[in-house]
């Protein structure tokens, strides 16, 4: 047991690998939130008037909203007036190629092990890299343009494709949806817009790396993906952030729209700074992610969540169209003082809609990891089917694992199944490995990766490798 203790200690005392601050001059708005700041952001982005009105409406609504308290997380009250709402790396004539990009930023990506140029050459991935709030490099745009695929920072899309933005922005997550969505709608500074035209299969995985950089800057990303009829797109989102002492707020909104016969695959690896072992610092991650499926369409969410001090995130799907399908695959790992309240919502409205939820939680240290999910079958959703499985693994006796599923069924032909288990790593499995000469650390890595395999299978190749590494590194040597 003494050795186990050491393992646990070595795990809990592990420092964040990717913590560093990039030293770039910032173009900043003063701290605080008021209508002037919103006007400033809107002006900075050269937005049309209608967009400014949209933002102000969201802001005015937000003023009367209360911060939600129902999630199983605790944190000191956030002072929304003590946050920078706009920070951009200083502009030098808008870079046209990688050569023009600030070498400091490129170095940052190097430290993260994701050099842009390498990715460009190796993986054929188009990277719309976001450093804080402004996109600094966009590649492969030309190739995508030939197919008619629009892959732009959202601020550019607002200027260049106002019709699409007007039609779809806020159509899935309205500005008044919830506290954090309203805040995001008022102050979002950048994000990604993807439009895949009818019948087009996007030939490469689209990917954006978010990085929170300026101290005390909240990151308010806005992602909008529209897959037109019969199209297909796979989108990757990955995150790392430098080490900080003060908590940083991140309130992103992601909207997905799959029109008739379209398919969207959205994968996330989230490894933001989680705070030190006493729970000091770390990112607050309050995200609203939602997709709408029209007839015969499909959206799948896959996520690996290992970072953030607090995660509050429920990637949801509204299966509006007949014969549409939704999937949610998640691995959430919490350690030290991390708190995660995450899960999904599947709202079945159309006939013959199907959804699958696979959620794997791993808690270690003093962390709390909750699954919270809703499966709702509307009265018109004949023959709807849902299967949910939510497993939790506990490592150490000071952590908590919780499951809060909600099943609401209003149709007699529906079939809804939910299963959940909670346990620790089986002594038998460990013994079996030890007996065959596999060390305890390695055995745990193997068992954890086996446990989360079902989810990793769903990730695109590049992510699967990264995710497995993340889990193994984070949980090395922790024996329950």
């Amino acid at each position: 047991m003494g050795k186990d203790r050491e393992h646990i200690d070595s795990l809990t005392q592990k420092e964040y690998e990717y913590g560093f601050i990039t030293d770039i001059e910032m173009d900043m708005a003063p701290k605080g939130l008021n209508e002037d700041i919103i006007r400033f952001i809107s002006a900075k982005k050269d937005e049309p008037d209608s967009m400014l009105r949209w933002r102000l409406k969201a802001y005015r609504y937000w003023l009367n909203m209360k911060e939600p308290t129902w999630a199983f997380v605790t944190y000191p009250p956030i002072d929304y007036q003590n946050i920078y709402y706009y920070a951009a790396p200083k502009k030098k004539e808008g870079p046209k190629s990688l050569d023009e990009v600030d070498p400091e930023i490129l170095a940052t990506f190097d430290k993260l092990g994701i050099p842009l140029e390498e990715r460009e050459a190796l993986a054929g991935v188009a990277v719309d890299a976001v450093m804080d709030s402004v996109s600094v490099a966009t590649t492969f745009r030309k190739k995508l343009q030939e197919l008619g695929i629009i892959f732009l920072p959202i601020s550019e899309a607002i200027r260049e494709h106002p019709d699409l933005i007007k039609k779809y922005l806020g159509s899935v997550v309205p500005p008044t949806d919830n506290f954090f969505a309203a805040l995001n709608s008022a102050v979002f500074t950048d994000g990604t817009f993807v439009y895949v035209p009818k019948g087009i299969r996007c030939p490469m995985e689209l990917s954006t790396y978010f990085r929170i950089n300026a101290a005390n800057t909240g990151q308010f990303e806005r992602t909008l993906i529209v897959a037109d009829e019969g199209s297909y797109v796979s989108y990757l989102e990955g995150c790392t952030a430098p080490m900080r002492d003060e908590n940083q707020l991140h309130a992103a909104v992601v909207e997905l729209i799959a029109l008739d016969g379209a398919e969207i695959k959205y994968s996330t690896v989230q490894n933001w700074y989680a705070g030190d072992k006493n729970g000091k610092g770390g990112i607050y991650n309050f995200v609203t992610k939602r997709g709408v499926c029209h007839n015969h369409s499909k959206i799948s969410w896959a996520q690996v969540e290992t970072g953030s001090a607090i995660t509050w995130k429920y990637p949801s799907l509204i299966l509006r169209g007949d014969n549409s399908a939704g999937e949610f695959h998640s691995v959430a790992l919490t350690n030290n003082r991390q708190q995660a309240d995450t899960g999904t919502k599947m709202v079945h409205l159309g006939k013959n809609t199907r959804s699958t939820i696979i959620s794997k939680g791993i808690s270690a240290g003093y962390s709390n990891n909750s699954y919270r999910g809703l499966v709702k079958i509307g009265p018109g959703a004949d023959n709807a089917k849902n299967y949910s499985q939510c497993d939790s693994l506990l490592i150490g006796d000071r952590c908590g694992a919780h499951t809060f599923p909600y099943l609401e069924v209003d149709n007699p032909t529906a079939n809804v199944e939910h299963e959940a288990t909670t346990s620790k790593i089986s002594e038998d499995q460990l013994f079996y490995c030890n007996q065959r000469g596999i060390g305890t650390e390695e055995a745990i890595g193997v068992i954890i990766n086996g446990y989360a395999r079902e989810v990793f299978k769903r990730l695109p190749m590049e992510f699967a490798v990264e995710a497995q590494k993340l889990l193994t590194v984070s949980l090395e040597g922790s024996v329950g």
């Binding site: 499951t403 609401e408 007699p412 079939n415």
Partner: protein, 452 residues
């Protein structure tokens, strides 16, 4: 100064404790409950624990405490339907929450057993009341528990001595009798088990007429070490009444508690079970069946708290929903950090028979210990297609196959009742509801006799 909730205060304006010559402990307890009640808001949909149960219609009504005339002129014939074909048992009958000795039969109980109404017990045994009243475990005490605490009109007090074991069940029969107003019937029961004892307790909630009554009972159970309590609760009130019942149980070391809840009646019913496993080797089993039809709403909330290592709990709740009915299961398993080696399982299955019926399920796990085996499952759907096919392939018509399977689905829970006459009574009720296509009541009786 306590902040008073106006809606809550209005709701209980016509309620009063029926008798005033009570012991000081009961008076103090009422006072405390009343203070808590006044600061508790009336349950509304926005409260997480009442998310699916709309009480806005009830909130507009004013329940009225029972009066003496409710209990007079009742004869044994009136309660015959609830005697389970005159099952051999010790019966205590309460009408509108008030003990009626002329209908009861508790003379033949063993010498050391105490079975009397709470008010007599409070006079004879004030120390026990002080020690136990309001002390059973309850996570998240709510409005209706306080309401009962403030305005209960008597109840059963049962104390089983050490080493007592009996085959003859104790039957607590709570009947309601309405009049023009919404009668308030509230019993407060205390069940205290000694060490190494074993007993079966039946609680039945029924109606003497078809007038609406608001039943609001609380039963506190203190199981003894190394004891076994089988606790069967049947809710069979008329479909215009409301039922809000709580059962709060403490389960110490090496003791077993088995609860079977069957709900067929009431317009709105709420069954609250709070069980705390406080000693090593303790075991808690909760089985439940709720079969709703018409516009019935059946809300079940259970909390099992594992407070001690090496305890086991097992929970199976089944719902069958027909017509416009709504069935809710809201179950929570809480495993505290010190409760290592816990094994806890929870299963909720609902069957929806009509396209206007609803089923909501909220099975929750809250776990703070690592060396545990916990699982929960929930399904909502139709009858098993394979089973239907199997029966049909053997020449059974679709309608009959459906009847058989629905009946069997319900009987899983009823089978956990160990008293033959009670089981038979429920089989018959369920057969009448779900076996219509299968055969007549006589067919069923002859079939059942063969089985026996």
């Amino acid at each position: 100064m306590i902040k008073t909730d106006p809606e809550s205060a209005a709701f209980c304006q016509h309620l009063h404790p029926l008798f005033h010559d009570q012991s000081s402990h009961i008076r103090n307890f009422r006072q405390q409950s009343l203070e808590m009640l006044q600061s508790s808001p009336f349950p509304a949909l926005k409260h997480e624990e009442w998310k699916y149960t709309d009480l806005s219609e009830l909130a507009k009504q004013l329940p009225v405490s029972p009066v003496l005339s409710d209990f007079q002129n009742l004869s044994v014939n009136d309660v015959y339907p609830y005697s389970f074909n005159q099952m051999k048992s010790h019966v205590m009958v309460f009408v509108n929450g008030h003990f009626t000795p002329q209908l009861s039969n508790i003379n033949k109980l063993g010498r050391n057993i105490v079975a009397e109404n709470l008010f007599s017990a409070a006079k004879r045994n004030p120390e026990d009341i002080k020690l136990y009243l309001g002390k059973a475990d309850k996570k998240g005490n709510d409005y209706f528990s306080y309401l009962n605490g403030a305005f209960f009109t008597d109840g059963a007090y049962i104390r089983i001595p050490d080493n007592y074991q009996s085959e003859i069940p104790i039957h607590l029969l709570f009947l309601t009798k309405g009049n023009g107003e919404l009668r308030y019937s509230a019993a407060r029961n205390l069940i205290i088990m000694g060490k190494n004892s074993s007993v079966t307790l039946v609680e039945t909630y029924g109606s003497l007429d078809d007038r609406p009554v608001l039943t609001n009972s609380v039963t506190e159970v203190f199981n003894g070490e190394n004891s076994l309590l089988r606790h069967h609760i049947l809710q069979l009130q008329n479909e215009r009444s409301h039922y809000f019942g709580s059962t709060n149980i403490t389960i110490p070391a090496n003791s077993r508690y088995q609860n079977t809840w069957v709900s067929l009646g009431s317009k709105i019913s709420r069954n609250d079970v709070d069980a705390a496993l406080t000693g090593a080797g303790s075991y808690c089993q909760l089985y439940g069946l709720y079969a709703g039809r018409h516009d019935q709403l059946m809300d079940n909330r259970t909390v099992i708290s594992h407070r001690s290592p090496h305890a086991t709990s097992n929970q199976v709740y089944k719902g069958i929903l027909d017509g416009f009915s709504r069935g809710i299961f809201n179950g929570k398993i809480l495993v505290e950090q010190k409760a290592q080696k816990t094994e806890a399982h929870q299963l909720n299955r609902s069957l929806i028979l009509s396209d206007k019926a609803h089923a909501d399920s909220k099975p929750q796990l809250k776990i703070f210990a690592d060396d545990v085996k916990c699982s929960h499952g929930a399904t909502v759907g139709q009858l098993d297609k394979n089973a239907m096919f199997y029966l049909q392939s053997r020449g059974v018509s679709k309608e009959i196959a459906r009847s058989m399977l629905t009946f069997a689905f319900a009987n899983d829970v009823v089978d956990s009742i160990i008293l033959g006459p009670v089981r038979f009574y429920l089989y018959k009720k369920l057969f009448n509801r779900f076996g219509r296509d299968w055969g007549s009541e006589e067919d069923f009786e002859s079939l059942y006799k063969q089985e026996e």
